[in-house]
Amino acid sequence: MNWPSSLRLSCLSRTRIILEGLVMQLTVNRVARQYDGDPEMPLLWYLRDLLRLTGTKFGCGIGLCGACTVHVNGEAQRSCVMRMSDAAGKEVVTIEALSANGDHPVQLAWKQINVPQCGYCQSGQIMQAVALLKGKPSPTDQDIDEAMQGNICRCGTYQRIRQAIHIAAERKA
């Protein structure tokens, strides 16, 4: 919607003020949750500090590394730059709830070829890969590059990540 920026800002401020007084509802890993703190707080800290779901990682805090990737209403999002006010009313899924026993096809592929090294980026890698395969069940290498380029890995496991995505795609097919 093409609103003038002044109008847009004043609506946002009012929403924020309203939200500050409200209890925000959201679902995390299929459990209904309530949050009445600062609506500006990134979802990442709600998950890690308040819910103690530490599977989602902090890497940069500015949406550039992908370690904080979760699913919000089925889409991959960087939780470090998603405000609680934007997560309100939505369904969040973290790595811990991707499967009951670590047996999601992507997790199985990851385990089959020993993808991780230090593992710190891998929660985000897996969540992003799952989102990719949802939209593109048989991704090409270019699809993988484009979808995964925001998830960086200092250990350099990229070749195995790519291979595991192909394996998961074949497994599902």
């Binding site: 779901l53 530490t54 990682k57 670590g102 991780p116 230090c118 593992g119 891998q122």
Partner: protein
């Protein structure tokens, strides 16, 4: 000088091993005696414990940063011990000078500890054989090990490592020449395509990293740096900082 010694579990990580466990420590000369500052002191570096349940606990004393040493160093012990890798639990060491150098840099963890870790595993294996031979009243030379089990070749009798742990813990540690290492062709784990010990936990978000560690009542500190090199604090106004929710003090 024997590099492997049996240790009382009370002295080290008492909570890790139970009373019935066989606990072995490996000692190495510090690579550079001068840097250790204690040229006359040998530093224990690694711990191997075998529980009466059969659980084998291997302590990983170097820092895992993605090089896989939390898997590869314990593999050295487990292979020479002839342990079932599925029965191995790896415990990460705390920072403790008794482990010797825990500096993890320069890609030399495996090279530096290759021999002593193999010796620790081989010593454990020999002690388990001796314990079984004593129980069966046979010669140890008639016994061999096969994955977490001691077998008496002539009679086919078998005893699991767990059943022998308590008895083995009372035996003297063999000299290095009496605890031969495996031929490389006999390795089960070393040189093979092993998966990361923590693979399943990493893939499910269960692996604990430094930032994930939590103790009730813990607080977090953040260092504020001056904006210029060599800058010194002239004054501090922490009024606004103290207003932020969760801030206790500056």
């Amino acid at each position: 000088m024997n590099r492997i010694e049996r240790v009382s579990r009370r002295g080290f990580l008492g909570s890790v091993f139970s009373a019935g466990a066989l606990v072995l420590a490996g000692r190495v000369l510090p690579l550079h005696a001068a840097t250790s500052g204690k040229s006359a002191t040998f530093q224990p570096n690694v711990y191997l414990g075998i529980e009466p349940t059969g659980k084998v606990i291997i302590v990983a004393h170097r820092s895992e940063m993605g090089t896989g040493n939390r898997t590869s160093l314990p593999m050295l012990v487990a292979d020479e011990l002839d342990a079932d890798w599925k029965m191995v639990t790896v415990e990460q060491a705390i920072g403790d000078p008794r482990y010797g150098s825990q500096n993890t840099d320069g890609s030399h963890s495996v090279r530096e500890f290759f021999d002593v870790l193999r010796e620790a595993g081989a010593s454990g294996r020999v002690m388990l054989i001796q314990a079984a031979a004593q129980r069966w009243k046979v010669a140890p030379t008639e016994c061999e090990t096969a994955l977490h089990t001691v077998i008496h070749r002539p009679s086919g009798r078998r005893l699991a490592y767990g059943e022998l742990a308590a008895a083995a813990s009372k035996l003297p540690v063999p000299k290095k020449e009496d605890a031969p290492l495996k031929a490389r062709s006999a390795w089960r784990y070393v040189g093979k395509d092993m998966h990361l010990y923590d693979l399943a936990d990493i893939c499910t978000g269960k692996a604990i990293y430094g930032m994930d560690a939590h103790i009730d009542g813990m607080v977090h500190a953040s260092v504020e740096h001056p904006p210029v090199l060599g800058g010194k604090v002239k004054s501090c106004d922490d009024k606004e900082a103290l207003k932020v929710a969760g801030v206790h003090q500056t």
